[in-house]
Structure formats: structure tokens, C-alpha cells
Symmetry: D2
Subunit: 335 residues, 4 copies
């Protein structure tokens, strides 16, 4: 085994904890620093997975003690920390979204795309075994030319109001994953039509945001992608995909812990309720994402989602935000 | 058993044949006339299911020999034949769409809604056991308040160019069923956004029509209905529904002839291919539709889809047609 | 249409009612007599489906007014009524079992097999669309050589004690259908091993009968058939089949009224409870059975289950009865 | 974290490799020795997961350098190595079967049951998440009193002739897992009836062994367990379970890598082929088994399958072997 890559995790919240666990489990990586202004959180992560604790991300990135950084801190810190990492020659895996303001994304774009180190954006679903299996079979031509994609994504329950208030809205915060998934199958989207509604959550409405949306994307080769979202779901985390081609269709269903089915006077072949949320549902995806990031560092090129993938998803989110408010389809240019 | 209702079928094409079979099988009905300008077609239907042959629908409706008429002739004949039937005191079950021009629909509206006889529009899917079972469970409150509906509808293959040319476009010809299904769960639709594409069929493009569309409808209580359509489907007729409420979700899948599943080196639990098209898939729905029509005549009131249901579906189709061409959401008023 | 076949139904109980309905629905058949010592029952069936009422089966069979008889009266009447029908030149469809005593079955055997009219035994499951579809695919070679068959058969609830008392025991009354189904795929059975238990029902035990059994049959080409039975089932009528060959496996599942699936906080993809019992589950099988019987009369040969099929099933039932009581495998000769 | 338990693995074949991987992945364990007469195999395992290499199991067990041993060497070595480990005060996890001769098993029984260290037998399926989930729900009373259990177990393909020759026969080698699974739900089995056949494999017949068997077990509370086995399966490793109680039924299905389903002109909702064999299918079970073994060492008592569980499974296998050859049900006493 080669020398282990030395990692810092920036942000010791829920997502930082997951990434720290992935680093811990990965035989080619070592957790050297956990960084968070809340030292208590950082200490907790370090206790579980190792590493020193710091509250100063700039200092850690420039310490010379790390090879790579995982940025899971609040969105407004992403662009400056990416800039610091690139300058310091540190590989970076940055959580989505890059920023809520496309101008900020664009300002760093030439630097990010010209970086000598790898800059990867954390669209983990592309590394999920379910979605990857569909992609592999589509790429093999099993269903012919892709004509329609349908993505269903419903969270178990709405985030708290404080989170909604700074989230940038459902399209930039939640649908952004689906925009990236859309581009996994239809990379070149040219038009966005979106409809939003306030079906159940008063405080989301207070924040001038939607709790339920549907979006239609048009691809440059006449593909249609349809996305259905809700901020809640009584039956658990709902993450489905259907890819329709001229020779057939591939679908993925939601995951249950086991295949056990119940037959009773009330139900037949009833599965378990679905996994609760993304940490369980995408556990493998997070680990795969890190493994691919490390593999890319070894290969000298980014093998995961690019900065421009992150930018494209934000452009689609912005367009959906506008479309849902104006009632007009919005043309986009992703390149 | 009471005296049988005497029926005339107008239009001896594919759909007329189905209706004639339903009349034949119904113990409370009798087929007295089969009417078609192509006497050969009418003769064939009459040979199978009984009845005299005629090429003159007006004469038959006014003959005094029939109690009810099923209008399955080309769309432009619907409004005049309905008018004749209403005037003649003959109950009418008329295939969708009422007309391709909302002005024609509106012109007959006061007469149709004031008719002493029953005027039923043939939205057969509301009588399909699958959709009805979902509706019954939704109405019982099993999934709480309806928030989102997703309807997938794909035909096995495109109709011939000649048919497309006079069809009024995919929204008025094909999606119209889905608009009615949307209203089965969300009666009051207020806004329509539609996107169309030409993914695979050149002659549909030549007719300035789409082969693939997605539509988003907004309901007055903040429901969102999403419709996905294609004019072809390699795996057979695709007719799915998902109704999502705040307490759960109900879905229907496509039908296979049997439950047989194959396990081999290539596949596990593989079902049979789906039923080919609507005559097989909706056989029960057509029979139920007729039975309900007859029950309504006995009850002295229409129990099926109303003239205004037919009008509403056309208004939604018109709005979708406009939205897909202008890129703007279109507000509608259905009452 | 040719002249309709004139039928008498003997036995106006539950099964007689089903057969009468099938005759009524069949365009090539006419119900002329309904026969039952309980004239009230016969009158009820005749009121629903037509025909004259009689309490004298011998007189009706010999009346010259019928072409065919369906024998659904109690088991001890089957052999004498079959003898009468054969002598009178009347085609007979006789419910299983032929008799509970193999000696009685053997005594009529030469006459039944030499009859100029058709003698069909009512193993309706061979005419069920589900089982037939498996058979057709097995016969096409889709799963190669048949090696193992697994049949699960559970009734919703036990028959009343009075019925159990005269039923001949679970193997002759209930498993007999599974023995015939076994022979549908493995005609030549050579050995029977059976195990019985009293798991839940005291009055079945009082009758020296089992409420739960498993049976293993060995075929002459080294096939193994495994049968699992219970006299009750909390989730409804359970009728499954699995045929395992050297190239794959085919299975059928139980039927639900619709494909509706529920997703809630408690269950995912939960189907409806299964159909309650055989009248619903095998409605199509009964109709197909009658149609095939009629087709066979037209063709001048029995196309359904033969007298020797009925005899074979009883031999297997007798062997299972003996095996479950002696703890020894019992060799059988079916030809 | 406490001091790591020091392990030796005896037997560096396929199963030893799996166990070594589990030790490597377990944070509370450390691989100190890999032992095999084929030093090359041991070296390969040690290279992957650490540890010193030895060809002398007795010496390693008595070295004082290990706390626990995993015995995965050929069956005839199990009893002597267990004896050595018990004497040396080393905890032992021993692969099934304990021995092919019940006399040998019985000879060590008092020593094994009186050991101060933990002696665990490797019935890994009890630690499989699928089977465990069923057990937990059965224990909660979800399906009431257990009445029938049906276990299907088919290997992807037969072991080579040389393996079959020393395997002790299908019941002691393959069905033994199903006997233990039967006892997971019905601990006290009192009678065994078995039927064997030679359906497809000539060399298995040459070894006077069966390639296909069915077994019926009777429990002391009138439960019936039915087991269906084949030494091959065209669709991959088949491992199913159905537990039937008076209030309902629970089933597990086979595992696929993902939930992807294909819809094409040939199939609907077709899953992926099943996982190939036990190393993939039971990967989690092996890891859980080790974790439970380690937890038990910490707790000072065996938490996994006991020596008497291993003995009971062999008694059932012996009884099945006899029953299949004599055609007689065999009574057994497991305590």
C-alpha cells in the first residue's frame, strides 16, 4: 500500500460526519484535521474517526500537513475555501451547491478549471450503485436512444425554517441533485419549465419558497426530463428514476433494509418502509465518491463531478426558480 | 328482467366494434342498429353482435326504434349528432373529444346541460377497475390530502400520419385522457404548463405535432399534476398512475395477462410483456362504462362523465397546446 | 351459430351455482334442468340462470331432453350418475373426486374409458390461465427439463366439521387438486411420502384428519414434486406454483383484484389482500373448463381431464393418506 | 477502544479467506496467524489481511499469541482442533459441520459444553440480515404462532466430484444449513422424512449421493418444515424462506445487486440475475457472525450457534440420509 492521503474535513455537521467516516474506512486515506468553528462538533468527529481539531480552515489548508480537503461547511464558504485550496495545491472535494449566486461561481470558474489539483463537486448520486447501474446499461445501448427521463425525489420531511431561509430555495437546495441526475443522462439541457406549489408547509410559504415542485427540462437532442419533488413523504425518502428509450425502459426503486415481505389480512407482499433519509440511502454513494476522488488524485485528473457540473446544476436551478415565478420557460446555456 | 334498452352504434370502426360487443354482452341492452357510411364495416359489426345496418345516423336516431345511441364516429360529427339525439329524446354516450374546437363545444353546452335525456362523454378510464380502486381508497382518506398526481401514458406505437393530421394534436387526441384522469383526482385545475418534443417520429413532426410531451397542471388547492406521454413504447401500452397524499401514496402498475415470472441466467422475477393496447387494457372499463350509462338511464340521471367533463378536458388540451408553443403557463377556468 | 348444447346441472350447491353461471354465459350452451333433492336450492339456481327444476337426476339424464350433464352432487353419487349418463349417451363433466373409494372408481373404469360419449373430470385448475401459461412455457422448453415442482395451496379457512367428517380426509378432499396439478407437469408419479400435522383446528383432529400437510412425490424421470397445504390462511386463498428446470424457473403468484400498491409509514409497495376463495380465484378456470368440455363434444373426443386423471389423483391421495399414517413412502402405479 | 482480540485462522481456502477479511475489517480484532499445510495459500491470505504464516495449527493454538481461533480447515480436523483450543483456553469459531460422524461429535460434547472459553459453530445464516429480520418479526408475534416453514436452497452449480466424494452427502454438506435454519424457527424437531433424486448430475450419482432432495421435518408443537434443495440453479444462488403463522406469512426473496428493472418487448419489471454464490450473498452474515463471536467473548458467553446446535443439525442430516434411503420417517431426539 502506498502512502495514505492526508485529509482535512471542513465542517463537522451531519455531512462532515459522513465524509469523516468514509475517510476513516478508506484504506488509502487518513484523517488529519477536523475543522469547525464549533470546536465541540469538530472534537466529536475527531473522537470517532481521528484527526486534530481546528477552528481555522484557512490555516489548516495552508498547513502543509494535508493533501486533500473535503469542504462540507456552509455554502457561502465554498468559493473562498476552494480558492484557498487551489492556491495551496490541495485537492478539494466540495459539497454542492458551489454557491447560491452564479456570479460567485463564475468568478472562480477560470481558476477552478485551470487548477493543477483536482476540484470535485459532491454530486454523490452519480456514485450510487443504483443510478450507476442504470447509467451503465443505458450506455451499453440496452434501451436504445434516451428519449424521456423521469426523476422522483421526495424528502421524508421539510428542513427547519431557519435552514429554508438560507437555502436559496427548493430548486437550489433540493432539486439541484435532480438537475445533476438529469444531466447524468441528458448532459446538454437547453430549456427549463418549472411549477411550484405550497401544499402543506406554512413556514416554507413564509420564506417565499415552495414545498412541492415539478420541473420539465428539454435536452438539445429533443429529450424530455421530468422531475417531481416534495419536501415531505409519509413513506420515507423517495428516490426513483426512470429512463425511457426507444428500445425499452429502466427503472430503479427505493431501497429497503431487507427483502422481507408481509402477507396478512390487510396487505399482500408488503415491503418494509423505505430507508429514512440520505445518510442511509446514499451511504455507499458517499464512500464511492471518496474512493473515486482518491483514485482521481492518483490518476492526476478529476474522475468525479466537475466544477462545471456544479455550475450547470446551479444554472438549471436558477432557471427553474425564475420559471416557477414568471410562468415562462427559460432558455439556458450550460457551456 | 326489465325491457332491454334499444341501442344504435354510430361508427363501426375499432371503437364502435368494442362498444357493440359491450352492448351484446350486457343483459339489459340490445343492439338494434349499426350505422356507418361504410356499409361493409357496419355489416361486419352487425354480423357479430346483431342489429340492422344503416348508413344514415340522423334517420336512425329519429327512427323511434332506439332508446340510446353510442356515438363513435369521427370527431366532427359528435356535436351535430349529440344535438340530434338530444332533440330526439335519445340518450347519448359520446366518445371523446366532443370536438376539436371549443367554440363548437360551447355552442351546444346549454342544450347538452339542459337535456332531458342523459348525455355522457366516454372517458372510459374512470370506469377502469384499477383507477377506480385508487379513487375509492383516496376518497376513503387512506393517503390523506392529495398533493401530487403523476400520470404516465405511452402508446405502443404512433398512429398513422393520416390520423395524426386530423387528430387535433397529441394534447387533444392522446393527453386528453390524462387531463380527464387528472380531474378525477383534482377536479379544479387552474393552470397548464406543457413542453413538447419530436424525439423519434418524422411524420408527426411534419404535421407540426409532438411525439413526446410532459405537462404540469396546478390545482386550485395547490395540487400539482404531472403527465408524461410518448407516442411509442417498446414494452407495450404504458398506463400508470401515482397519487401522493400527505399520509402515503397509491400507485397502479401496468397489466399482464398472468402473474407468471421467469427466473433465468439473464433476468429475475421477469413478468410478461404488457398488454398491447387500449382495447385489451381497457376492456373492463368499456363494459363498466356502458353498464353505468345504462344504470344512469334507469336512475334518470347521468352517472358517468358529463358534457362539462368533456369540455374541461378540451380546455386543458387547448391550454397545453398553447403553452407548448408559447413557452408560457396558461391560466384556465373550467367552470 | 350452431344449435346450443342442452345441459342439466346436478347439485345446486355452491359449485353447481358456478357451473350454472358458466352454462348461462356460454353462447353454445343452454341450461335445461337444475336438479337437487333440495328443490329450493334448485329453484334458486334456475331463477338465476334458467332451466326447469327437478329432484330426480336419473329421470333427467334419461329424459332425452339433455345432451350433457354436469355432476356437482355429493361424491357418493358420482359413480352411479356417471354410469347412468354413459348408458344414456349423455356427455358428462363430473366434479372431483370421482369417489373416495378406489374400488368404486376401478369398477366403473372400463365403462368410462369405453364410453361413446365424453367423460370429463373437473380438475379446473388445468384450465386456469395462470397455470396454463406456465404449462405452455414449460412445454416450449423455456426452462429446459423439469426437475422440481413446488405447489403451495392454503385455504382461507377450514370447512365445517360436518364437511370434514365425510370429506375422506385432507388428501382426498383438498390435496387432490395439487396431485392433479403435480401430474400436469410430471404425469408419471411413482412414489408418495406425506406428513400430516394438527396445528390449529381441534375439530379436524377429532375427525382423525390433519389441518396441515406436506407431501413429496417422486416422478419416474427423477422429478421431485413438493406440496405444502394448510386448511387456513390469514391472508386469503393461497395458490402458488413453482416449476424448476435445468434452464430456469417459472412461478405464479396469487391474484389480487387490482395492481394497486400502498406506500405508507408502515409498508412499501403493499398489494391488496388476496382473493378470498376458489369461486373468485378460479372463475375463469371454471368457464374455460366448460368451454373445453363443449369444444370436446364438438370434436368427438374429451379434451379435458380424463377419468384416468381422476383415478390417478385418488391413487395419490390414498397413498398420501397411508404414508402420513405409517411413516413410510408408498409406491404407486398410475397406469 | 479496548485491546484487540488476537486471531488465528486455520484453513486458508475460500472460507478462510472470507473469515480473514472479516477479522481485518473488524476494529476489535487483529489477524495474528494464518495456518494451512499449503503454505502458499496461507501466505496469500496473510498478504491480503496481515498475520504470520504457519503450517502447524496445534502449535499456533498453543503459542500463547492468540485469544481466538477460527477453524475453517477440512471437516475431519474440526473435533481435534476444537479439543486443542478448549484445552488451551482459546475461544473457537468452528465451521459447520462439526464432524460427519455423530459419534465423534458426541465424544467431544461434554468437553465442548463444559468449556470455559466460547465454542461457536459457524451457522452464518442466522446472522444474515434477511433471515434475522424475519426472526425478529416472528418473535414479535407479527404472524402469530408458527405453523409451517418452507426453505428453498439451490446452489448455482454442483461442487466437483472430489468434493462430493468426501462431503458426507448432500444432507450433511448442503441441507445442513437448512436444518439449522429450520431450528432457528422450530428448535425442537422430532421427525424427519426425506426424498432424494438424481435429476441431472451423473458424477453425484456415481458417489451414491443425490443432486436434488426434499425434506419434511415435524416439530414438537406440530409445526411442519419443508425444505427443497438442488445442487444447481440456472438463475443463480437461490436462498428463500417462508414462515407461515396463524396470523400471516413472512417471506424473504433472493438478493440482487441493485433494484434496477428492465421493461422491454420481451419482459416487464425484470430484475437483475441473482448474486452468484454464498460469498457474495452471505458477506454481511459472515461479518455479523464474527462480530457476535467477539461480542460474546467480551460478554463471557457464547452468543452465536452452540455446539449442540451443530450436533442437532448433524442428527437431522443423518436422519434425512437414512430416511431417503429406507423410505421411512425417522424419529430424532435433539436434546
Amino acid at each position: 500500500m502506498a502512502k495514505k492521503l492526508r485529509f482535512a474535513i471542513i465542517g463537522a455537521g451531519r455531512i462532515g460526519y459522513v465524509h469523516a467516516g468514509s475517510v476513516y474506512d478508506n484504506p488509502d486515506a487518513e484523517l488529519v484535521y477536523v475543522v469547525d468553528p464549533f470546536v465541540e462538533s469538530a472534537t466529536k468527529v475527531a473522537a470517532a474517526f481521528g484527526g486534530k481539531v481546528s477552528s481555522d480552515p484557512e490555516a489548516v489548508i495552508n498547513s502543509g500537513e494535508i493533501d486533500a480537503v473535503i469542504i462540507g461547511s456552509p455554502t457561502p464558504t465554498h468559493v473562498p475555501l476552494l480558492a484557498t485550496a487551489i492556491k495551496a495545491g490541495v485537492h478539494a472535494l466540495c459539497e454542492k451547491p458551489i454557491d447560491l449566486d452564479i456570479a460567485n461561481v463564475d468568478s472562480l470558474r477560470p481558476i477552478a478549471n485551470g487548477a493543477k489539483t483536482n476540484v470535485t463537486i459532491g454530486f454523490n448520486r452519480r456514485q450510487d450503485p443504483q443510478f450507476k447501474a442504470v447509467k451503465a446499461r443505458v450506455d451499453k445501448g440496452e434501451i436504445g436512444k434516451v428519449e424521456q427521463v423521469v426523476i422522483t425525489s421526495r424528502d421524508p420531511g421539510p428542513a427547519p425554517q431557519a435552514y429554508i431561509a438560507v437555502s436559496g430555495g427548493i430548486f437550489r437546495d433540493m432539486t439541484i441533485h435532480d438537475f445533476d441526475m438529469a444531466r447524468y443522462f441528458v448532459p446538454n439541457i437547453v430549456e427549463v419549465s418549472a411549477v411550484g406549489a405550497n401544499s402543506f408547509c406554512d413556514y416554507i410559504k413564509e420564506e417565499d419558497d415552495f414545498d412541492s415542485v415539478s420541473v420539465i427540462l428539454k435536452g438539445s437532442a429533443n429529450e424530455i426530463v421530468t422531475i417531481v419533488n416534495s419536501r415531505h413523504s409519509a413513506y420515507g425518502y423517495d428516490q426513483r428514476l426512470e429512463v425511457f428509450g426507444d428500445k425499452g425502459m429502466l427503472q430503479i426503486r427505493n431501497l429497503t433494509d431487507t427483502t422481507v415481505q408481509l402477507f396478512s389480512k390487510d396487505v399482500s407482499a408488503a415491503g418494509e418502509p423505505y430507508m429514512d433519509f440520505f445518510l442511509e440511502r446514499y451511504a455507499a454513494a458517499y464512500r464511492n465518491e471518496l474512493a473515486l476522488f482518491i483514485e482521481g488524485i492518483g490518476a492526476g485528473k478529476n474522475l468525479g463531478s466537475t466544477y462545471d457540473d456544479g455550475r450547470a446544476a446551479l444554472i438549471l436551478a436558477d432557471a427553474a426558480h425564475e420559471s416557477a415565478r414568471t410562468g415562462k420557460a427559460v432558455r439556458v446555456k450550460l457551456d
